[in-house]
């Protein structure tokens, strides 16, 4: 069981082909040519692991949402409707490649835990291999050129997902966000901020080196994690009854609800996880896997893919809420406040 507030790492690397206009100004034919060339390369045997190529034109919406929920596709790319878009996943979901989205190429990596350095190592290698067929748009002063000049430079965006319910509850997250700005970082709520799950990333233009960007995001993540730990201790010390009450209520709802939205489930898991980490709760099912992993598999498309025999495309189907509540009852069975 993870006791770290840093729950997941993600990364994206934007690149463009030097000989072509950026996607929003390029002809469909030229983009199609680029897609075909790169897809052909992905199918070759020069890679250590195979790429799985997806045909976005025939994919059901629930499958696309499932890719977004697993961190293999960005929400922006899933919602775009540009020309000649392509998508592929590397190996056993280690990385993925968006083709002809906002930029010609966007390499993506996502892993649970503190994994930014290893993600950068992998994406950099894939980036080098891709360059065997693509001549990247690059300027010695600006770095890698992108459709948004504010993002030109390394093209790297590093994300750390943090579980910080105590900072959010006490309103201390605002001060943290202000501090992040000074370091060129920003903070955004994941899943609408449910459960105090947020994501920090580099947003100001940074010219690198990439290892410095990764280190900056990691260092700030650790600092925020420490702050979260200290605020949790303070809450337990100064408001022990209220803390037990909130956590106990969460366990009660998790054990007895028959319908549940995703946001509610995330809030309940978050409270249970805090109770577990503070030693207030006995929850064998919750302790058996990371809270982030449990939250992830309760997302709508995960429920459809993992639990429903008839795969509905309606992600608002009431049945999804029923199944989610059932999974929660199973996970929280036998849980209690000490």
């Amino acid at each position: 069981m993870s006791t770290s507030a840093l729950t997941a790492s993600a990364m994206s690397l934007s690149r463009n082909e030097a000989g072509k206009r950026f996607c929003h100004t390029e002809d469909a034919g030229a983009l199609e040519e680029l897609r075909a060339e790169v897809i052909g390369t992905l199918k070759s045997d020069q890679w250590e692991r195979p790429w799985h190529i997806y045909d976005l034109d025939v994919m059901p919406p629930v499958d696309i949402t499932h890719l977004v929920e697993r961190g293999l596709m960005t929400p922006a790319f899933s919602e775009e409707a540009g020309e000649a878009r392509g998508f592929a996943v590397y190996g056993n979901n280690q990385a993925s490649l968006e083709i002809n989205g906002l930029d010609h190429f966007n390499l993506i990596g996502f892993r649970e835990g503190d994994q930014l350095e290893s993600l950068w190592s992998l994406l950099s290698v894939l980036d080098d291999r891709l360059e065997a067929v693509v001549s990247y748009a690059f300027d010695p002063r600006w770095g890698y050129l992108t459709a948004y000049p504010g993002k030109a430079g390394t093209g790297l965006r590093a994300y750390a997902t943090l579980h910080v319910p105590a900072l959010m509850l006490t309103g201390k997250l605002a001060a943290t966000a202000l501090e992040l700005v000074g370091h060129g970082l920003g903070i955004a709520p994941l899943w609408g901020g449910a459960g105090g799950v947020v994501q920090i990333s580099n947003i100001a233009r940074q010219t690198g080196p990439e290892s410095d960007i990764v280190a900056e995001v990691e260092n700030m993540s650790r600092a925020i994690t420490e702050k979260e730990r200290s605020v949790r201790k303070m809450l337990m010390r100064e408001h022990p009854v209220q803390a037990r009450d909130q956590i106990g209520r969460a366990l009660g709802v998790a054990q007895h609800a028959w319908m549940m939205t995703f946001q509610e489930a995330v809030n309940l898991i978050s409270a249970g996880q805090v109770g577990l980490e503070q030693g207030l709760v006995e929850a064998p099912g919750l302790a058996a896997e990371s809270a982030f992993s449990l939250m992830s598999r309760l997302q709508p498309a995960h429920i459809v893919i993992d639990h429903m025999e008839v795969k509905t495309d309606c992600l608002d189907s009431p049945e999804i809420g029923e199944i989610r509540a059932r999974v929660m009852r199973e996970v929280f069975a036998g849980s209690s406040v000490r």
Binding site: F22, P75, F110, P140, W142, L145, G150, G171, L185
Partner: protein, 194 residues
């Protein structure tokens, strides 16, 4: 997975460029508040954002709108360049011959259409994207297949930066070595371009 980001982060700025509370300072923060399930967005300066976040009950998140990106917004860059007088009027006419993007397009969307735009709109981009920052020098990864001159230029920029730091710290002996190395690279660059 990736958080859904505020539209402000993608330069599509519909909000005010000035703080909506004090109206005096530039709005560099985006305060997102969720109170009893109702979401509200406000653009504020850093000082007002801090004050308002502290007063907000319920969930309050301050999202940083990077000021360098905000400057690319239609409103802020339009306002600024309107005061630049005749120089602005002449730049208004510029457009990229490769992709057809005009300066107005760039101001409107914050996007350039191709690599060539970086040269065509260099003045505008330098003024907006890199304002307030150190001189733009890419210190990260470089393409493996780039022309030799790209690698040489990159290395020269790195050494120039090092030279400035050494001189600033009065480490003249080491600076002399770096200067010689720069001269060598300059000759190689001339050769590569020839």
């Amino acid at each position: 997975m990736f958080a859904e980001e505020s539209p402000d982060w993608n330069l599509d700025l519909g909000g005010s460029a000035d703080c909506e509370l004090c109206g005096e300072e530039p709005a560099t923060m985006h305060l997102l508040r969720v109170v009893d399930g109702t979401v509200s967005h406000t653009h504020l300066c850093a000082h007002c954002a801090e004050g308002m976040a502290e007063q907000t009950e319920g969930l309050a998140l301050v999202l940083a709108v990077p000021s360098v990106l905000r400057r690319l917004s239609k409103k802020s860059s339009g306002d600024r360049e309107a005061t630049a007088g005749a120089a602005s009027a002449s730049r208004e006419e510029s457009f990229c011959g490769v992709c057809g993007t005009t300066l107005s397009d760039l101001r409107e969307s914050g996007m350039v259409g191709c690599a060539n735009c970086y040269g065509v709109f260099a003045d505008h981009l330098e003024a907006t994207v890199s304002r307030g920052a150190e001189p733009i020098e890419h210190l990260g990864k470089v393409p493996l297949r780039g022309p030799e001159s790209d690698s040489l230029r990159h290395e020269m920029m790195r050494l120039e930066r090092m030279l400035r730091e050494l001189v600033a710290h009065e480490r003249f002996e080491e600076a002399a070595g770096v200067r010689d190395r720069l001269a060598d690279l300059g000759q190689r660059l001339d050769g590569a371009e020839a």
